[in-house]
Symmetry: C2
Subunit: 582 residues, 2 copies
């Protein structure tokens, strides 16, 4: 008879108000200690731990004596106050304990590959290599921190549902087995058995489906959508990831921004109790790049880039005299030559030509390129005694991005990044960028993004100056969301395809269904997608999104718990009309 008796509450929910009450608890033995003839058990469930005391005179003493860590038990007992000297302020149940009267073992446990009990006691869990944690993810998932992260994720998602439902959004599920349209990232393919030689693709995003829902009049759509991109894995990327995807009809960019700000403020309040001031700061793409060297600037510290192009223009320092841009960064520290070399390598990895430097010592420039620096610049840059100034010079974008990376690294290293949460919009992205390699214009967001209608006349004549109605939501220096107003007229969409070098035939072949949809009367519409994994990681202050995903892939795209991917039976391939290539 295992299950007839029911728990009366969670272990972690026992409080002083329950003193003198009889309770039934079920959970895991977080730790067992024997002291003065008594057995002390920390009994754990997802709400926390509670101390269970087994007296040698108790009828369940012999059973309790068998218990080991992580056994699953049921305990019936009486709640009582802990003796004053045993009160534990580190845990919520620290005022009380449960005197065991009956005890039942529901399941035994072997020794865990690593310990997870400390976190539940309010202490630090031991560090364990990530590969080991992922291989034993079931054990790892018992850690308090992962419980907290996944429950916060749940709170975020339910808050999103509440808010958007209240705003008239309709959640609609879009297909997972869809058509491969190889642009942007690489598709994951799914062979069709009913039509051997044909393939479905897993969706990179519900972009076109949500646009079609707008054309069909659904007006306000959202979905917590899993998306798939078969890209080479970087440190913090998963082959599948989760988006909050939303789209609205009859809106301007302002409407989308305003709604998403309110949504962000709502979820921050509901999940973390944090008040986020509205509206969010807005930066144009040009501002963000010029001031922070990034289109997703970390705004929890200042340390802005300063444009000093004119100060060097035509001057004696040849390297700075005729370049497109020269930017300076005043670092509130005296950096060693070795540190500067490391930072230069970082700047170069972003494409900068190099990293020049000088210091301000005894009221004058010294070291590095000191002798080339106009004296007046010291005052203008407000350089303090002993501080270092770093310079990049060259082509605008790689230069500012190089110095932007240095800025961020120094922000971390010097502890400049404040606590809290910083949101901002980056707007006015260029619609197109010149693809050097293929000598053609390519889209910066995607080919369905609307040009700013004020710039429409330049679309063919001067594509570089056309701004997109596109926007990114920046959250603590990461791109937490991105979206745009879409093209809703077939003629403009066709112009856009033509500009991108997509022939009419190719457009028809790949996007015929979209063009067809646009020709049946489409409303102006736009939307956004939030990267939910990154959102939760920012909210929980985790570096890696793997800490906020229950069963993530490792850095090689493998899920080592179950062992995916894996070879399959050749018969499974045969029915798909496929063979492995030697």
């Amino acid at each position: 008879m295992l299950w007839p008796m029911r728990r009366t509450m969670y272990c972690g929910s026992v409080r002083e108000e329950h003193i003198e009450q009889k309770v039934v608890l079920e959970g895991w033995v977080n730790r067992r200690r024997d002291l003065g003839g008594l057995i002390f058990l920390d009994l754990r469930d997802r709400e926390g731990i509670v101390q269970v005391v087994v007296d040698p005179g108790s009828p369940c003493y012999r059973q309790a004596d068998r218990l080991r860590s992580e056994w699953v038990i049921r305990v019936e007992g009486l709640v009582r106050a802990r003796p004053l000297e045993q009160v534990n302020p580190k845990i919520a149940t620290g005022q009380v304990e449960v005197e065991a009267q009956q005890l039942e073992v529901l399941s035994e446990a072997k020794t865990l590959p690593f310990q997870i009990d400390a976190g539940w006691r309010g202490e630090e869990d031991p560090k364990v290599a990530e590969e080991v944690r992922l291989r034993h993810r079931v054990v790892d998932l018992r850690r308090k921190r992962l419980h907290e992260n996944l429950r916060l994720r749940h709170k975020l998602i339910t808050a999103i549902y509440r808010f958007l439902d209240g705003e008239g959004f309709v959640s609609v599920e879009t297909p997972f087995l869809t058509r491969s349209t190889p642009e942007g990232a690489r598709d994951f393919l799914v062979p069709s058995r009913l039509e051997p030689g044909s393939f479905y693709a897993l969706p990179q995003s519900p972009q076109l489906f949500k646009q079609m829902l707008m054309v069909a009049g659904y007006d306000r759509y959202f979905q917590i959508a899993r998306c798939f991109r078969d890209e080479d894995l970087r440190a913090d990327r998963q082959p599948d990831f989760t988006q909050l995807d939303l789209e609205m009809s009859f809106v301007t960019q302002e409407d989308v921004l305003a709604l998403n700000e309110r949504l962000a403020a709502y979820v921050m309040k509901e999940t973390l109790g944090v008040d986020v001031p509205l509206p969010f700061p807005r930066l144009t793409y040009a501002e963000a790049m010029n001031r922070y060297g990034s289109d997703k600037p970390e705004l929890r510290f200042d340390l802005e880039l300063v444009d000093v192009t004119e100060a060097f223009r035509g001057g004696e320092f040849r390297a700075f005299a005729e370049v497109e841009t020269v930017k300076a960064l005043v670092v509130p520290a005296s950096l060693s030559r070795k540190e500067i070399e490391g930072l230069e390598a970082l700047a170069k990895s972003k494409g900068a030509a190099g990293l020049a430097w000088a210091k301000r010592e005894h009221g004058a420039w010294s070291g590095g390129i000191a002798r080339f620096i106009p004296e007046s610049l010291g005052q203008r840059l407000e350089v303090g005694e002993g501080e270092t100034v770093l310079f990049v010079a060259g082509v605008w974008r790689p230069s500012v991005e190089g110095l932007g990376a240095v800025r961020l690294e120094l922000g971390r290293r010097l502890g400049l990044i404040g606590p809290g949460y910083a949101f901002a919009w980056v707007v006015d992205f260029p619609l197109l960028e010149w693809d050097q390699e293929n000598a053609r214009w390519t889209y910066m967001h995607h080919p369905f993004t609307s040009p700013n209608l004020d710039d429409l006349e330049h679309l063919e004549t001067d594509p570089a100056r056309v701004r997109a109605l596109a926007y990114d939501l920046v959250f603590n220096g990461s791109e937490a969301g991105g979206g745009s107003i879409r093209i809703h007229r077939r003629d403009l969409q066709e112009r856009m395809f033509a500009l991108l070098g997509i022939s009419a035939e190719e457009a028809q072949e790949k996007f015929g269904f979209l063009l067809e949809a646009l020709s049946y009367g489409a409303p102006p519409h736009g939307g956004i997608a939030w990267g939910l994994d990154r959102w939760v990681a920012n909210m929980t202050e985790e570096d890696s999104i793997r800490e906020v995903i229950a069963f993530p892939k490792n850095k090689e795209g493998k899920e080592t718990l179950t062992g995916a991917p894996s070879p399959v039976d050749p018969a499974q391939l045969a029915v798909l009309g496929l063979a492995l290539k030697e």
Copy 2:
């Protein structure tokens, strides 16, 4: 300047209280009529249509005169009461109309492939072949009925979130790219590019992941989960489908049933305003089969099967004298011979040996097998004058299932099925069934289902009599959900695998991660999965789940809107280490 002005409300939301107000509306021209020099537009958005009147003297008359069906426009105007004789009680805005003052065309439209305007006027949309509807799904999705279906689906899902969040359930996302474990249905495979020759599988359900979440202490989990099964398509099956998947720890079967009943009652009330009485009726598997010839009985009409085995046992009618079972169905109608022949074909398609019959005419048996029927049976079966009795005889299961199919068909044909919603639980399924073909025991639900512990002693000695702790939720004669209490002890799981003929090596290879998880201390747990597509179809009284999915596959598994599946570039296959077989 297209977008600066904003709509002030939805078209379908204009009411008498807005009379004398200036409104801005945006939407589609549902219909245009010209009457007495005036132009009447039905302007449509997702909330409904409203009549817009353009006077020849209006400054926007010339623009209005260009308008055609499905153009997207913005209108500014004054709300006024309709003349009494023009009031239209069929639509919610039927008391009012909008006198247009300004008008802007946002997008033109070509003629639709089929008409969708009638439904919005409260009339019937013309019937269109499903293949045409699916190919032009964007147009089809404009129909009012699909709007209603998808919005009900949204309401259902938000109600589920509200209820389960309130009950302490945590939504957790489980992997989409997972390991292939071919048992049950066939997996959809996803070739890995980073590890050519290896494959991910799309999940058939999150079953094992949710069990691992229980082992990790998450206690109450749910997910609206997309699942994938590469099965041969039947009329109403999609290769991917949506489940409400949930799991609970430290529970008995009673707990799972009670919670799900409350959830079902809650969502029926929140979405349809329907009160569902609790608790749901419960039938054992044996009862359901014996009385209704189905393990998912349609309970909105009676017409029960009656066991008459004993009445024929050892009698002169050889075909009925020595069989396992004889069942009768008293049909409140006089069926023609041709009708009976059709029903017999149906019964045989379910495996029944045949369908015998007789009628009661002038107080005596006549026709068919009349002369073999004991006279007393007429009274016992309460056969009325002119009614037909149908019989099946033979092996129990195919016989009752054959007559069960006949029962359901007659229920439909004779209009016996009442309106409303009938829920029931079917419990006490057999744990195992004998697989004739492979001469071995196989599981009825899945290999992780717990035996009823009262029957545990018979597991190896008399497997047929072991009941499972498994349950199905039946909703209007369809299996709307199914679940079980799971095995939570490694030793019992290993016994189960052995019984199923899965060797220890094979178990380790396929389910090693589960066995490992169970060995770290697992709580008793169980759960259920609801088939959400079928739920919504039942709620909206649609026969096909394709009517409640935004972008469904057709009966051949194709998504004809975008054209999936499709051939792919050979280069895409090459990087996956794959080649098409000739």
